[in-house]
Amino acid sequence: MTVGLFLTQVLNGLQLGILLFLLAAGLTLVFGIMNFVNLAHGSLYMMGAYFAATVFERTGSFVLAGLIGIPATMLLGVIVERVALTRLYRRDHLDQVLATFGLILFFNELVRIIWGPASVYMNAPAALSGTVELFGLRYPSYRFAIIGVGLAVGLALYVLIHRTRIGMLIRAGATHPEIVAAMGVNVRRLNTLVFGLGAALAGLAGLMAGPIVSVQSGMGEPILILTLVVIVTGGIGSIRGAFYGALIVGVVDTFGRAFLPTLLREFVERSLAQAAGPAIASMLIYVLMAVVLAIRPQGLFPVRHG
């Protein structure tokens, strides 16, 4: 194994982690602040990808796809929150899971009716469709762009949460919701704001993922499961936890997939390694989550109290 290959896989892990972070940030805020389990977060990601792909197909402009796709997803998120989810805040988690699972089915069928069953075309902007030479191996420049965008969003979120008044309210809402309400803050509006922010981030993730994965009905579910692993590992409600958790999950998953089958071949025969390698690799992150839950049930980077 060369250094170049190792570094490429590190980048791959970071890139997957960054994409997961965009989704996990929104999900963890909604979970932590509103105490609401939103399984339909993956559907917002899917809708973001469809909005972006539609604009991209009409105009051929990736920037325009983002400028229209992200606000559209945010608007959709706000509408869904106002129409459907506000009724569920006081219900228990099982009702929320059931209702938002219903939303998944609803959105999956909706895109099938509007855009048809086949996947929709979306591609990276021409300037980013090439590769960058790196230690003798080529790395797709678009994936570099994802890492860049994700880090920028992470920084912006950090500033928003830790340096602004809104961020202060969000932080306070996560730890002391009753006191925030008693201080006269409109919690309902705060909730909508948080949900809209989460939806916009999901839309951004959908836009960035569009050129890599196929834009199709049901694309939100596999990534939603990874996202749930991220926020449980990182600590529910914590943006910091979502960030580090996403990077850890991304790198562990990528390394497992990349090196485990080869590693196994050193110990067992080839055909067995080929069969068992990917199976074990895809379990790694769940094992990680289980270990974290056993040792630190609050997650690796929980919200700091007090």
């Binding site: 996947s119 590769t131 997939r257």
Partner: protein, 388 residues
């Protein structure tokens, strides 16, 4: 007044008799029509109905009623549909069936009831071999065929070191095995990815580092869209030839577009086949649905043509099972693929072709026929089938 009533009654009875003489043959159509893989079933359905509509709602000169059912890629749903179609609707014929796992769930159930099964996509190995039935006819291929032809192509091209990649489930392993059956070089690595894994960055980096002569993949539907795009983005397109099965077809090319140019795939039919039946089919299909028909459409169109010929031969009397079985076996119709005949196991004996993704005459990304490495090809399991 009484006479009028009697007259009315007589007319009604007459009408009823007339109607029963004209009672349409019910045909059950089962396919994946919703969810991510719904595009395949939709193409199967659209092409089948195209034949029925062009014949004025008839097949073989007899009116038919097609009962459309969505099996949702769930074997348990498919078996319930089969029960309903056979017990309640009394259908003598069932067609469609998109996925192999659904086929395995319904094949025995349908044929045990002596209902005719005209499969227009899935062709898993067991039903081509020991579990074959005289009531089942497949108008597509045996699954392995589409991989075998690519393996032969890779041998012909003189590739020595090839990496195989597929999702980690039965069909993925079957296709890699089919490729290896006709590939004389060395498969230096086989990479199996979880079926729900949408991103191949880690695996593509490994492939790139090993620098093989070519890579062979089986990634159907959305997975194929992901793979082909990421292959291009990773800078591998044009450097390492990409050979494939069911990865660049009519259902995925609209989403892959230029990214797929140059990708090689193997199957039995392409939209550029230059015979009169195919030209008419492609023209009619494009006119009606405004898209290039996929191979799934072609297979189902042939299923409808097969039924058209067989129902015509028995003059609509499909209750005479022996005669209808012989009429189906004769396969007396002009197939889109050219020559067509059934093997002893009721799977086609046919030429298998290799295609390259290229722009067609109208500048659209489509499939271009390259060569036919396997002529009059039979599947590997037909000898295990007891049928003659």
């Amino acid at each position: 007044m009484q006479r009028l009533q009697a007259l009315l009654a007589a007319t009604l009875i007459g009408a009823a008799i007339g109607a029963s003489a004209q009672a349409p043959i019910k045909i059950g159509f089962i396919a994946e029509l919703s969810g991510p893989q719904g595009a395949l079933g939709q193409d199967q359905y659209d092409a089948f109905m195209l034949v029925v509509e062009q014949n004025g709602g008839k097949l073989g000169g007899v009116p038919v009623q097609v009962l459309r059912e969505d099996s949702q890629l769930k074997p348990e749903v498919a078996t319930q549909i089969v029960d309903k179609l056979i017990e309640k609707e009394n259908v003598p014929i069932i067609t469609g069936i998109t996925f192999s796992n659904v086929m395995m769930a319904v094949h025995k159930k349908i044929t045990d009831k002596e209902v005719f099964l005209i499969g227009s996509n899935a062709g898993p190995a067991p039903i081509a071999g020991a579990q074959c039935s005289p009531y089942a006819f497949i108008t597509s291929w045996q699954n392995d065929n589409q991989a075998e032809v690519v393996g032969k192509y890779a041998t012909d091209k003189g590739y020595k070191r090839v990496i195989g990649m597929a999702p980690n489930y039965q069909a993925g392993k079957d296709f890699i095995a089919g490729f290896k059956r006709f590939f004389k070089g060395e498969v230096i690595d086989e990479i199996y990815t979880p079926l729900n894994q949408p991103d191949f960055s880690a695996e593509l980096a490994q492939v790139s580092a090993k620098n093989p002569d070519a890579i062979y993949v089986f990634y159907p539907g959305g997975l194929g869209v992901n793979f082909v795009r990421q292959y291009k983005q990773a800078g591998l397109a044009g450097k390492v030839p990409l050979l494939s099965t069911s990865t660049t077809d009519g259902s995925t090319l609209p989403a892959q577009k230029e990214d797929a140019l140059g990708v090689i795939s193997g199957t039995f039919w392409g939209p550029d086949f230059n015979n009169p039946v195919n030209r008419k089919f492609v023209d009619d299909f494009e006119k009606k649905f405004n898209r290039i028909p996929s191979q799934y459409a072609a297979q189902s169109y042939d299923a409808a043509l097969l039924l058209d010929s067989a129902i015509g031969k028995v003059k609509g009397n499909v209750a005479d099972k022996k005669a209808f079985m012989a009429a189906l076996k004769a396969a007396d119709f002009k197939s889109l693929r050219g020559d067509f005949k059934f093997n002893n196991n009721n799977f086609p004996i046919q030429d298998m072709y290799v295609f390259e993704v290229a722009k067609d005459g109208k500048g659209r990304v489509s499939l271009k026929t390259v060569s036919a490495p396997l002529k009059s090809h039979q599947d590997a399991y037909h000898a295990q089938c007891a049928l003659k």
